[in-house]
């Protein structure tokens, strides 16, 4: 059955573990949504502010008071918006995020503050898509982001602990929201990220892809799907014309952040851009 999502154009890139490339996915997803589908804002609610720093807005990250005024007073979130040369807008993270998290706990309706104070007002300003870059640890801000989004993209990388991070966020955060909304909230995609090696047996990339294809294939974007027949072909005759699954590690992806740009603005020939287009298409259709 095709899931019925809340269709509000808001998506959270989330997993309860750091280093999974959430910001890479979120920023490039925002860029492709803006490019292909409509007016988009990237909202960084990760207290580390990596996404904000990546995009070159470190100064905004260190500015005090503004975000707190939006969340706890009546300042409109458009005051926080940074217009970028790449089309999409940015709401930067802030060094105040930890304080904000603590203050949220004492508020009425503590889980819908971000939705009421940032996400809904921005949608009222004509943003069709809101991409939330969420914290990698459990927090009130993370709960808020997931409740506001109700559509989730979960990145996982090869290697230790990745699958258990996926399992953790599903059990502790995503499933409760999905069940509470009777399936209106949903996981749009579980995407492998930072693949870097061959997909031969016993390699970490292979383990991850086998696990995802075996257990979570309904949530895998087409670019990460490998059938049993294809595995057999890969092992017997080599990969041949079966494309390497994405999203793969590329110099252009890491270097684009040194240059403070989404990857397609840094190197339009990067072969992974099409995967961000796929994710953007999924969000446009279902978020």
């Amino acid at each position: 059955m095709e899931p019925q999502t809340s269709q509000n154009g808001v998506v959270a890139v989330c997993i309860l573990k750091g280093g999974m490339g959430k910001s890479t996915i979120a920023i490039n997803l925002a860029h492709r949504l803006q490019k292909n589908h409509g007016k988009t804002v990237y909202v960084d609610v990760d207290k580390n502010g990596h996404g904000t720093e990546f995009l070159g807005f470190g100064e905004a990250y260190n500015k005090n008071g503004q975000l707190e005024n939006v969340i706890f007073r009546d300042t409109h979130p458009s005051e926080l918006l940074i217009e970028t040369e790449w089309g999409f807008s940015v709401v930067p993270s802030s060094t105040e995020m930890s304080t904000i998290n603590d203050r949220m706990k004492n508020q009425m309706n503590a889980d819908v503050i971000l939705k009421n104070e940032i996400v809904d007002p921005l949608r009222g300003e004509g943003y069709e898509y809101v991409v939330l870059d969420t914290p990698g640890d459990p927090s009130k801000v993370a709960d808020n982001a997931l409740v506001a989004a109700q559509s989730f993209i979960v990145p996982v990388i090869p290697g230790q602990g990745s699958i258990s991070g996926l399992e953790r966020i599903m059990e502790s955060q995503l499933l409760p929201i999905i069940e509470a909304t009777d399936g209106a909230a949903d996981i749009l995609a579980i995407t492998p990220n930072m693949l870097s090696e061959s997909i031969r047996p016993r390699k970490p990339d292979r383990r991850l892809l086998e696990d995802l294809n075996e257990n979570w294939v309904d949530y895998l974007p087409q670019y990460a799907r490998i059938t049993d027949e294809q595995w057999e072909q890969i092992d017997d005759q080599g990969r041949g014309d079966i494309p390497l699954p994405g999203i793969r590690e590329r110099d252009a992806l890491s270097d684009s952040f040194t240059e403070n740009k989404p990857v397609a603005e840094y190197d339009s020939s990067c072969d992974q851009i099409k995967h961000f287009d796929t994710l953007a298409g999924i969000v446009a259709e279902r978020a």
């Binding site: 059955m1 258990s164 499933l175 999905i178 399936g183 870097s196 090696e197 383990r207």
Partner: protein, 135 residues
């Protein structure tokens, strides 16, 4: 997907997932040791051939460095990588990663400091044979 199905699906995979993490942990340890040159050698001699396929070390254990070659020399890195990739393909390995060539270049140069010195002298239009006079 229906939310109750998702709950069941999660319950089903949980046991398998924890097994995978343990397996990845074992593999992570193996990957770390293979970055040590002697470990790589002994592994090549004794391991089952199927275990030696694929890059010798994971991207996660590689280190990104800036190097500063002359502009024209920098172009040669790509040329060299292409040659190595072609050689590996000819030997039946279609899974070359650029980091492997970078790693080999550093190890190669490390084993030949005298030759590197010669090339530095040569680039300065000095006599490369002067290295023979080194104590």
């Amino acid at each position: 997907m229906d939310s109750s199905n998702l709950r069941n699906q999660l319950d089903q995979v949980k046991e398998g997932a924890s097994e995978q993490d343990e397996a990845d942990e074992d593999l992570g340890n193996e990957t770390e040791t293979t970055t040590d040159e002697s470990a790589t050698d002994s592994k090549t001699e004794t391991a089952d051939p199927s275990e030696t396929t694929g890059p010798a070390f994971a991207a996660q254990t590689s280190k990104k460095l800036s190097i500063y070659p002359n502009e024209e020399t920098a172009r040669l890195i790509k040329v060299l990588c292409n040659s190595v990739e072609n050689n590996l393909i000819a030997l039946g390995h279609d899974d070359f990663e650029v980091r492997e060539a970078h790693d080999a270049m550093v190890r190669f140069a490390h084993e030949h400091p005298q030759k590197v010195t010669e090339l530095v002298l040569e680039a300065r239009d000095l006599d490369p044979d002067a290295v023979d006079d080194l104590p």
